[in-house]
């Protein structure tokens, strides 16, 4: 718990900062405790300006829990290219509170993470990490994939989040009443401001998305509440509460910083990954019965 140690050491400074903080500004959470109080620049509507290109640098896409560096699913082909970095859990308390059956299912998912079979319409989603197949990643995974994303916040009731991975997009509808009309891969996002924090309620997500390459998963009852809080000119604090009564025993929480991409003239490039998956998914249905 290095963060907690650090926050104990700087406890006095944090207390003073909290007393001096602007009323209504965000309260730092455990992962954000190293950030001094910060008041973000405003847009004309008085809300913090979250515009920019952001990226997480945690390794949660490999595993949201503590994980060691590991070989990929095909080391005989990929060597170190396919290997994943080690990393620390982004979860408050360290572990996902799975129901016993679900922990078993997660292990099965992991074992078959690189196996795909789309020959049967009914079972085509049963095997393999959706990331491997270039499926839209859902929330919260989209926030910690190793790709940048752009927030476009203007002066209407919609905030766009455009992800580089798979050109996935989601529209955050501000102060919106209507419920999700139908399940979707990126879900139904409704936003509101709590002080300086953009709070996004995400429902209506397709049950097939995963949380990481370790097989962590959810059901169609997934309910995610995200919190985006400006922490410096160069950081947003990202927090999410994840609730799914069918799979977990209680709601659980993740947090990590998002970093502003600062390279000159940086922009999202395309990662339209469908062509990278076609031999894997569809090659065996070709005339030669194999690839190409």
């Amino acid at each position: 718990m290095p963060d907690r140690l650090r926050s104990t050491r700087i406890g006095f400074a944090a207390l003073v900062a909290a007393v001096l903080a602007v009323p209504g500004s965000a309260q730092p959470s455990p992962a954000g405790a190293s950030f001094p109080p910060y008041r973000a620049p405003r847009l004309a509507d008085g809300h913090p300006d979250l515009n920019g290109i952001w990226q997480a640098f945690v390794t949660a896409n490999w595993d949201v829990q503590d994980h060691e560096a590991q070989a990929g699913p095909h080391p005989e082909l990929d060597g170190a290219y396919g290997a994943g970095p080690g990393g620390q859990s982004i979860i408050e308390g360290g572990e996902i509170p799975y129901q016993p059956w679900a922990l078993q299912k997660k292990k099965e998912n992991f074992a078959k993470r690189a196996t795909v079979d789309v020959s049967n319409d009914e079972t085509r989603h049963a095997l393999g990490d959706p990331e491997l197949k270039c499926y839209m990643p859902g929330v919260p995974r989209a926030a910690y994939m190793p790709f940048p994303f752009q927030i476009v916040q203007g002066s209407n009731p919609y905030i766009l989040v455009a992800y580089e991975f798979a050109s996935a997009t989601r529209i955050i509808r501000m102060n919106w009443k209507q419920e999700a009309p139908t399940p979707s891969w990126m879900g139904w996002s409704r936003g509101r401001w709590e002080g300086d924090t953009l709070v996004v309620d995400v429902t209506g997500q397709r049950e097939e998305t995963w949380l990481d390459r370790a097989g962590d998963f959810h059901s169609d009852a997934l309910h995610v509440v995200e919190r985006y809080t400006p922490a410096s000119p160069y950081h947003l604090l990202y927090e999410a509460t994840i609730e799914d009564l069918k799979v977990y025993t209680r709601p659980w929480k993740i947090s990590f910083p998002l970093y502003r991409r600062m390279e000159k003239n940086t922009q999202l490039l395309e990662f339209k990954c469908v062509p990278f998956t076609e031999d894997l998914l569809f090659g065996k249905f070709g005339k030669s019965g194999g690839v190409r």
Partner: protein, 324 residues
């Protein structure tokens, strides 16, 4: 009574003034023309003017054209056997109802230049491009015969790589929605198919380097009065990325987005490519604001692309049957 009459006369005068005199167009808080919202470009006006048609229809002609189109789409057409019936499945049920209407100015082509409303004649292709075109035509023929050899015989839309998200934007039978987002220095056009966000910097930065190619190209915008002018370069060379497979090295596209009034945006594009067309050409398509009455929803494609598997499995089945 008198008061109400005065009020309504006033309202009428205001309406008339709105049509004639220029209304101040909406602007964002940071001073740019405001294009934000959900727009729809459906129309039945064809890209090219049908041969022998005049350039603009009268009110009656436009009304009867629309009626004919509507009745043709809902006509009982079970006279052609099972195969023909399946091929006619895209009837009015699938079609955006806005698709039945021709443009408000009753044009008979979306192309406004050349004046004949037609795509200019093609120039002679280089042998390499001729060969590529022939290979593509052969793949299309295999697909249309129900015998695609691999997924590569299918078009980019069937493979869910790009669909109607690549410029120029042309109306199609369904899902003609575009949502425009703006923030200082950025305009984003998000077409419904396929859920991509075309992020257009309007901050004067240079284009991507010449070795970076993208399916949707690389767009840069600037404002000319109330008009957003967008130049797009760096397209990938794959078949089907650029309209009529123009040459990515010499293809130029300029798009102009102009807010005309609260509910209308004019979308105009000019394309040129001396390796493809004998002259540049321009089309104009009205976009209608449908926000907030309607929302744009996620169009996933690849994730549940059952069709692609069915096409291939079906083709293998036909081959087996032919052998027996």
């Amino acid at each position: 009574m008198k008061v109400r009459l005065l009020l309504s006369t006033g309202a009428l005068a205001a309406c008339l003034a709105g049509q004639g005199a220029k209304q101040p167009l909406p602007r964002t808080p940071w001073g740019d023309p405001d294009l934000q919202g959900v727009w729809n470009d459906a129309t039945s006006t064809p890209l090219q003017r049908p041969n022998g048609t005049k350039d603009t229809l009268s009110d009656e002609e436009a009304a009867s054209f629309q009626e004919e189109l509507a009745s043709d789409l809902s006509r009982d057409r079970r006279d052609g056997g099972a195969d023909a019936d399946v091929n006619r499945a895209y009837n009015e049920h699938w079609m955006d109802s806005r698709r039945l209407k021709i443009t408000a100015d009753h044009r008979t082509s979306l192309i406004v230049d050349p004046p004949d409303g037609r795509i200019p004649p093609l120039v002679k292709l280089s042998p390499d491009r001729e060969k590529a075109r022939a290979a593509r035509a052969a793949a299309n023929a295999r697909f249309n015969a129900g015998l695609p050899e691999t997924y590569r015989d299918m078009s980019l839309p069937v493979r869910c790589i790009i669909r109607t998200d690549s410029p120029p934007y042309l109306p199609t039978i369904y899902n003609n929605d575009f949502q425009i987002f703006q923030s200082p220095g950025v305009v984003v056009i998000a077409p419904e198919m396929i859920h991509s966000a075309r992020i257009i910097p309007v901050d004067g930065r240079p284009h991507l380097g010449p070795n970076l190619h993208q399916w949707l190209g690389d767009s840069r915008g600037h404002w000319e009065g109330a008009t957003l002018v967008v130049e797009t370069t760096n397209f990938r060379p794959d078949d089907g990325v650029i309209f009529q497979n123009a040459d990515p090295d010499t293809f130029r596209i300029t798009e102009r987005f102009t807010r005309v009034d609260a509910d209308t945006l004019n979308y105009e594009f000019t394309v040129e490519d001396p390796h493809t067309w004998s002259r540049p050409w321009t089309a104009r398509i009205p976009w209608t604001k449908i926000d907030p009455d309607e929302q744009m929803y996620e169009y996933a494609c690849h994730e549940d692309n059952y069709d692609l598997v069915h096409f291939l499995v079906g083709a293998r089945g036909r081959e087996q049957k032919a052998k027996q």
